[in-house]
């Protein structure tokens, strides 16, 4: 089975745990998990994952700022915003800043895996 290398970025350890559990035994492998935007940019440069799942609301460097720095390293980076915030403003800002998709929390395992598999059709 093809393995998609995934990096998760969220200040909540609970969300990182949930995503790692959901992706276990799937075609997706979590190669890096960061709780901080600045560290996430460094890890991205090292790991070059296929997909980045990036939280929007984080202390320090926000998700949109982190997105911009990742895209500065690799303009083709495939970054998806995962946030509890689903306002039109937020979704619009993320997509116009270069995010490829947007997923609102919370989500179930089935919905999440379906969403990830849909991503692989375009990633």
């Amino acid at each position: 089975m093809a393995r998609w290398r995934v990096m998760t970025v969220d200040d909540s350890a609970a969300i990182l745990t949930i995503i790692a559990a959901y992706l276990e035994d799937s075609e997706f492998e979590v190669v890096a998990a960061e709780r901080d935007g600045i560290m996430a940019v460094e890890r991205f440069a090292q790991e070059r994952p296929d997909i980045v799942l990036l939280d929007l609301i984080m202390p320090g460097q926000s998700g949109v700022e982190t997105l911009g720095r990742i895209l500065a390293i690799d303009p083709d980076a495939f970054v998806v915003i995962v946030s509890s915030l689903g306002t039109e403003d937020a979704v619009h800002e993320c997509l116009t800043s270069g995010a490829r998709s947007f997923l609102q929390k919370p989500f179930t395992r089935d919905d999440f895996i379906d969403f990830m598999r849909d991503l692989t059709q375009v990633a």
Partner: protein, 281 residues
């Protein structure tokens, strides 16, 4: 007297003692089946499918009936039949107390009539309190969403009891999980939870057992507040109010939310525990 569960009312009136109430709740737990459990018992749903529906129920906005239909194994006719069976088999708290010989049927009927009258008054009072508070729209949004998500994460009954405005202090034995939202207005929403409730919420959210008062619990409940805050922003945006959440935080101190003038306090019962949903505006 605020809104409350019937068992809680009987306890407050001295009609039953705590042991009787616990016995009755235990009888209900052993008898009452959720729609999904009933569907499995009746052979309408595979157990594996039932687990998927229950997981989805805890983490989405959809109701159980809607999810049963969506998952394709139960049609409208079957669903109606299951609802009918569930209603007819459902052991209410009064009947459970009679079954345990803690009250007679006549005593239950008498207390129930008085309770319904008080509840009507309490519901009217809650409506009046919402209308009278500093920011009714925001308060209602946060309180409704908090109750909605607390029900999902605790997988139990959650009920709004009373709405007041106070100084915003944190009651002893509780931890505050809060989030500021900025934009068109500045707001702070918070859950003030005793540790037992925080643990149940965290376990329901992550799906694995967690230790009381651990960092995992604090982190998970903060994320729950973040979800409530995010969804509140989405709902308020539809009414023309643009807000953006800041990262959630947790504190055990009596911390006020900056210079926000007013604290709307919603007292909520989650099972047998009391907690506060707070909105600082």
């Amino acid at each position: 007297m605020g809104s409350m569960f019937f068992g809680q009312y009987l306890l407050s009136k001295g009609a039953i003692n705590r042991e009787a109430l616990i016995d009755a709740i235990e009888r209900q737990r052993n008898t009452n089946l959720s729609l999904v459990e009933l569907a499995v018992r009746e052979g309408c749903l595979e157990p594996q499918r039932a687990d998927a529906i229950l997981t989805r129920y805890r983490t989405s906005d959809a109701g159980l009936e809607e999810l049963c239909l969506e998952y394709g194994e139960i049609d409208h006719e079957k669903l109606n039949e299951l609802c009918r069976i569930q209603r007819s088999d459902w052991l209410r708290i009064g009947a459970a107390l009679v079954a345990g010989e803690h009250l007679t049927r006549d005593q239950v009927e008498e207390h129930l009539a008085a309770f319904h009258e008080l509840q009507r008054e309490a519901d009217q009072q809650l409506e009046a309190d919402f209308r009278a508070c500093s920011d009714p729209e925001t308060a209602r949004t946060f309180v409704e969403l908090s109750i909605f998500h607390l029900k999902r994460f605790t997988n139990g009954p959650v009920k709004l009891q009373a709405l007041t405005e106070d100084g915003g202090g944190l009651s002893s034995g509780r931890r505050r999980y809060a989030q500021k939202l900025v934009g068109d207005r500045e707001i702070c929403c918070a859950l003030d939870l005793p540790s037992q409730v925080a643990t149940v919420v965290a376990q329901g959210f992550i799906g694995i057992p967690v230790e009381d008062d651990s960092e995992v619990v604090i982190d998970a409940v903060c994320e729950c507040v973040n979800i409530i805050g995010g969804h509140a922003c989405t709902r308020l945006e539809a009414n023309g109010v643009r807000l953006r959440p800041e990262p959630p935080f947790s504190t055990e101190s009596d911390e006020r939310a900056g210079d926000l003038a007013s604290s709307i306090r919603a007292c909520v019962m989650a099972g047998e525990h009391e907690l506060d949903v707070r909105v600082f505006v």
